[in-house]
């Protein structure tokens, strides 16, 4: 039989470091059922006993209001948990003990870890461990989690508790004073009228939560057949306590808990030195009135360069590697359906997934590093005012900015935002931030239809439009989706700490592998679907395949110089692909959808081939990187410019043959910016928001908003006399 240990503690108490130290690499990351809170569990063996450790989300309390607290409270109350291990930050004992006063009410054995005792000692805080054990009624192990000090002792203790050898746990609870205890006892009696309710959690713990006016507790009671009696007693208790003790139940309970914590700390710990802490010295610079923002911008620039400039190098290797593989396979296999599935479907599909991994790992590593050092809270502190105006949280700033590199890891980066509402809104608006893949489309289109100067202006305008829309949509979604007051901004600024390389590496590995397993399949499936739409039925046309092969053989028979022969073969391939794509299901879809897009892409109804845009945009659904290459196929013109020419053959074809005007080209750019996030982003939203609904919503509002703004572009442009 394995013993299940729940690891509970405040945020920033070093819980995850301790978890890693206990379980090593043997752990599993998943989600708690029904919510998007990460569930980390692992096992370790000591002295022949196997124990399972579940790392709960870090919380300041168990009052069950936030998603994290609900998860922690309900798991702790479940019979699955045999032992609670409460991690305490030794340098911030009083606030950490608030949660302990609640854990002690759960009626389960509680052991304590006094973590980061080195930090506390540096601040002059010495803690009398035996006295602490006596007052908390459970064993206390001092540790330094990031140096693995005390871990063996901790394992020994847990193993002995698992075998029931240790009787060091006494039941200690906070004494709430005569008046409150009296009311608790009365509530206890009423709760015990319902055996089922009594069995869900200790009656005293439920009674306390009722006194605190806890909604979750009230919901539990409402379901009970004794609800009438309990509610009656509760209002009697309130009527007695509030005038008598001069405050409401929640305040009274919190005061008594802090009274307990304060008294305990006075008893067991020496007061910290008055000297300035290293954190205070660092903060004097890092959150300085004038220096704070420039330093933040500098750090942001560094993270951005690391992720998207350094990360681009392995990304290019991967992309080139797969392209080479695809060319190799294409040249070895006869042209046909199966080859096309491999060359144009599977290989680019796998490539589209793997190409994200380096960027995700680097950016997530940087973010984990910022988070673990404590700087992330400062970044939020610095940017909160600006972001609050936009209806967002200070922590939303980094994901939004990183979105301009790539939306996929940016959405993952929104994990750092605690409030689920703020996190969701940030995820939903991040796709509006123009990413580097969309830039390639702008460059081709703007370069074709505008002078270099105007093209640069148009491209910059797209980026500002994206950010502006993100802000606007943030406000709109906030008021439309969450009518209640926004979640409170009560954020701890934890002491700066140097994170361990190992923890950061574990985090990077987790994020990369989660992406591959959870989002990878979605992207791959989508890429294959789009391949199918854009190749059938033409790819199955044997006559065409035969003609193509004969043409190739004819060229080969001419014995031309290698370069010319290659050019001709390329042109043949382009012509063959163009024939297939332009008669494909996607093309038929394009012809069907074209009337819908006419007001924005063809307002004068002069373009015979406006439906071709739809094919390119459909491809853009997979990844914006392939919009340009798809256009090259559709228009049967190479995307690479010949030597000494400014425009590529594709751009010339677009200028002369597509019928786009500068104005409709601009509308095309606006539409490309907004119309839909790429598959990677959609898969990531689905995973991070926990439902297909939000992913579909993002696509839906993108299409509507994209169409609307492209229409406005055309309408305003025409009003000013542009064509």
């Amino acid at each position: 039989m394995t013993l299940t240990i729940a690891l509970a503690g405040n945020p920033n108490c070093g819980k995850t470091t301790l978890f890693n130290a206990l379980t090593g690499a043997r752990h599993h990351v998943g989600n708690w059922p029904g919510v998007t809170v990460e569930r980390r569990s692992g096992t370790f063996e000591h002295g022949g006993t196997t124990m399972e450790v579940v790392d709960l989300p870090g919380t300041y309390s168990l009052s069950a209001r936030s998603e994290d607290e609900k998860v922690a409270a309900s798991f702790l109350a479940s019979p699955e948990v045999d032992l609670v291990l409460n991690v305490l930050d030794a340098s911030n004992l009083e606030r950490n003990l608030y949660l302990s006063t609640q854990l002690l009410e759960l009626g389960k054995p509680v052991a304590f870890v006094l973590n980061m005792v080195d930090d506390a000692e540096n601040r002059g805080v010495r803690i009398d461990v035996p006295a602490l054990e006596l007052l908390l009624g459970g064993p206390v192990i001092p540790t330094v989690g990031n140096r693995e000090q005390g871990i063996t002792e901790l394992k020994t203790l847990l193993a002995s508790m698992a075998l029931g050898e240790s009787n060091r746990c006494r039941r200690i609870t906070v004494d709430y004073g005569h008046d409150i205890e009296g009311e608790l006892a009365k509530l206890h009696t009423e709760i015990c009228r319902d055996e089922k309710l009594e069995a869900t959690m200790p009656p005293r713990w439920l009674a306390l939560q009722l006194l605190e006016n806890n909604a979750e507790a009230k919901r539990l009671v409402a379901e009970s057949h004794a609800s009438e009696a309990i509610r009656h007693q509760l209002s009697k208790s309130f009527a007695f306590l509030e005038p008598h003790l001069g405050a409401d139940g929640a305040t009274l309970v919190a005061e008594r808990r802090y009274g307990f914590a304060h008294g305990l700390v006075k008893e067991v710990a020496t007061a910290p030195d008055e000297k300035t802490t290293p954190t205070a010295k660092l903060d004097a610079i890092l959150t300085h009135r004038w220096l704070g923002i420039p330093i933040f911008v500098g750090i942001l620039a560094l993270v951005y360069s690391l992720s998207f400039i350094l990360g681009k190098i392995p990304q290019d290797w991967i992309a080139d590697g797969f392209k080479a593989l695809s060319t190799f396979v294409g040249s070895r296999l006869p042209a046909g359906e199966l080859t096309s599935l491999l060359v144009d479907g599977v290989i680019p599909g796998v490539s589209a997934v793997i190409v994200f991994v380096p960027v995700i790992m680097i950016l997530m590593g940087c973010i984990a590093f910022l988070e673990d050092t404590g700087y992330m809270a400062r970044a939020a502190f610095i940017m909160d005012r600006l972001m609050h105006v936009m209806g967002l949280h200070g922590k939303s700033f980094i994901p939004l900015i990183m979105g301009s590199g790539c939306n996929v890891p940016a959405i993952q980066a929104a994990r750092t935002i605690e409030s689920p509402q703020d996190r969701l809104i940030t995820m939903l608006v991040t796709p509006l931030v123009s990413c580097s893949a969309r830039l390639q489309v702008y460059i081709v289109i703007a370069g074709t239809f505008f002078t270099p100067f105007k093209a640069a202006l148009a491209i910059i305008a797209m980026h500002f439009l994206g950010l502006g829309l993100a802000v606007l949509m943030g406000r709109l979604l906030r008021s439309a989706l969450f009518s209640g007051p926004s979640s409170p901004f009560v954020m701890e600024l934890p002491p700066y700490r140097l994170p361990m390389l190992k923890a950061t590496l574990i985090h990077m590995w987790e994020k990369g592998s989660i992406f591959l397993t959870r989002a990878g399949t979605t992207i791959f499936a989508g890429a294959t679907l789009v391949w199918f739409l854009s190749r059938y039925p033409g790819i199955a046309n044997r006559q065409w395949t035969l003609e193509y092969q004969q043409q190739r053989q004819a060229v080969a028979a001419l014995n031309l110089p290698a370069a010319e022969s290659e050019d001709r073969l390329k042109a043949l391939q382009l012509a063959h692909e163009s024939r297939i794509v332009n008669t494909s299901l996607a093309a038929k879809l394009g012809q069907k959808v074209e009337p819908v897009l006419r007001p924005i892409l063809d307002p004068d109804h002069k373009r015979a081939e406006a439906w071709k845009d739809v094919i390119a945009l459909t491809a853009g659904f997979v990844a914006k990187e392939i919009v340009v290459s798809t256009m090259a196929v559709i228009h049967q013109a190479s995307e690479e410019p010949k030597e000494g020419e400014r425009l590529s053959p594709l751009q010339v074809a677009l200028r002369d043959g597509s019928g786009l005007t500068p104005l409709t080209a601009l509308a095309f750019m606006v539409f490309t910016l907004i119309y839909t996030p790429c598959l990677g982003t959609i898969a990531m939203i689905r995973r991070e928001a926990g439902s297909w609904g939000w992913a579909a919503f993002t696509v839906g509002y993108g299409l509507a908003l994209g169409w609307g703004l492209a229409w406005v572009t055309v309408a305003v442009g025409r009003a000013f006399g542009f064509a």
């Binding site: 009083e94 305040t251 802090y258 903060d283 009135r289 502190f381 610095i382 600006l386 009560v490 701890e492």
Partner: protein
């Protein structure tokens, strides 16, 4: 003596100290503030304001916390010299 009248926490300046009199916020914010240590009689010190003027950083119960003006204006404190 205006010094002795309780004022909202948002009116304290960096460097000022105070003692919590009452949390006037309701619902979730109230509960969160109580848990974070804003109970009657708790001592706090305002450290600084963020570069853009909001939120504020303060020290309470020996740790650093940041609060927006929205929340800090709901906390009544007694300034302490």
């Amino acid at each position: 003596m205006t010094q002795n009248l309780p004022i909202p926490l948002s009116q304290l300046q960096p460097g000022d100290q105070g003692e919590v009199i009452q949390v006037q916020a309701q619902g979730q914010v109230r509960q969160r503030l109580l848990e974070m240590g804003f109970i009657r009689g708790a001592r706090l010190r305002v450290e600084k304001l963020a570069p853009l003027g909001d939120p504020m950083e303060l020290v309470i119960k020996g740790y650093h916390l940041s609060l927006r003006r929205e929340e800090s204006s709901c906390i009544l404190v007694q300034p302490v010299a």
